[in-house]
Amino acid sequence: MLTVYIDFKSPEAYLALAPTLELANRLSLSIDWKPFRTIERDVPKLGKEETVGESHRRVRAESQRRLAIKYAAHQGIDLTYPPILGSTELALGVLAGLDGDRLAFIRVAFQAYWHDHADLNDDATVQALIEQSGVDHRGGLAEARQLFESEQEQAEEIGIVGAPAYVIADQIFVGREHLPWIEELAQNPD
């Protein structure tokens, strides 16, 4: 079993989906998908007078976007950042409360955020995604919001600091760059 924490607004989590599923399919590994709220920031605007720290944060954010777009293109994805990054908490709460296979919902939620720039914290939008994906979500949306907060708290308590985060053999890995080691652990858990 591989536990994977995701946030729909995280470009890194989105780009990890295909390689993670490929690994899981190849090793017949089941995945427990869990929500985690990442902090995604707009690229700061170039200021007339930047401190070194402000300049660092701006250059880092620009670089992260450039690289995400580059590697997305390798996967055939035209990655376009939404004008407003927004919140995805409601969709993450729904993810936490789903019975059975969560993958159909994950796919439509990522698609909605990154292609349609949908608001995944909006009741009507998220309800439509539940219906579109055909998943079994029995609780209400208010319940989903509460569930998300408790899931987030638990994730932070065990040391999750970003997404995608993988938990396997008592180790936490943040980022799909760790998949080679994760594969090794999945094959030799001892």
Binding site: H56, R57, V59, V161, I172, E177, H178, E184
Partner: protein, 227 residues
């Protein structure tokens, strides 16, 4: 020296005090050897307090900290744990540093080695990086850096003048590079400059191998390669 230009096929920026650069050194040297190329290794001395706040530890306990939220601390702790487990896979020891070091001297040492003994660069990295991360080196002491150069079989006479504040050629080169990083899109280490690509992190090594060896097949995804 322009920060993005070189006659070499790849520019590699590193900093002795970065744990992520530490675990990138051997894989990057291995890539260089595998492809039979010589990369242009250069220093980037991180100004850590400007973007991560500062802290000082004694006997493993934080005794001074400023500008760091709990979330920042959690991320820093994860980063160290992550770098440490990969260091251990390479047979290396990585102990958390007790303060934020000024690593400009050993970094200027990289420029010295590139100019005077290019073929000894890997030996210099071995003389500096592993002992520093075992907390055995005071890298702010020039005699310590000179001893590392000598241990790597490199003539250190002239290094003190090369690294001297105000007058040293190496110091001037180092400081000039520092001013060029942010305006040219570079902010951390290891950074690889390959043509128009500026790639932060050793996870790009698979892509670099692919690009440097003729772009055969599909471009690989990011990955920390393991032996």
């Amino acid at each position: 020296m322009h920060v993005l230009r070189s006659d070499a096929p790849l520019i590699v920026y590193v900093d002795i005090k970065s744990p992520y650069a530490f675990v990138a050194i051997r894989p990057t040297l291995a890539l260089e050897a595998e492809l039979g190329l010589q990369f242009d290794w250069r220093p980037l001395t991180l100004d850590i307090p400007s973007y991560l706040g500062s802290a000082e530890k004694k006997k493993g306990q934080v005794v001074k900290s400023s500008g760091r939220s709990q979330r920042t601390w959690n991320a820093i702790r994860y980063s160290y744990r992550d770098a440490r487990r990969y260091a251990e896979r390479q047979g290396l020891i990585l102990k958390g540093t007790e303060k934020i070091w000024d690593s400009s001297l050993p970094n200027i040492g990289i420029l010295w080695v590139m100019q005077t003994a290019r073929d000894k660069l890997a030996d210099y990295f071995e003389a500096v990086y592993p002992p520093f991360w075992r907390r055995e080196l005071d890298i702010e002491d020039i005699s310590v850096v000179e001893a590392c150069l000598q241990q790597a079989g490199i003539d250190a006479s002239g290094f003190a003048a090369f690294a001297a504040f105000a007058s040293g050629e190496g110091r001037a080169l180092h400081d000039d590079l520092q001013t060029q990083f942010h305006p040219n899109g570079i902010y951390g280490v290891p950074t690889y400059v390959f043509g128009d690509d500026i790639l932060f992190g050793r996870e790009h090594i698979p892509y670099l191998r692919w690009a440097l060896s003729g772009r055969q097949g599909a471009a690989p995804d990011i990955a920390y390669e393991i032996a």
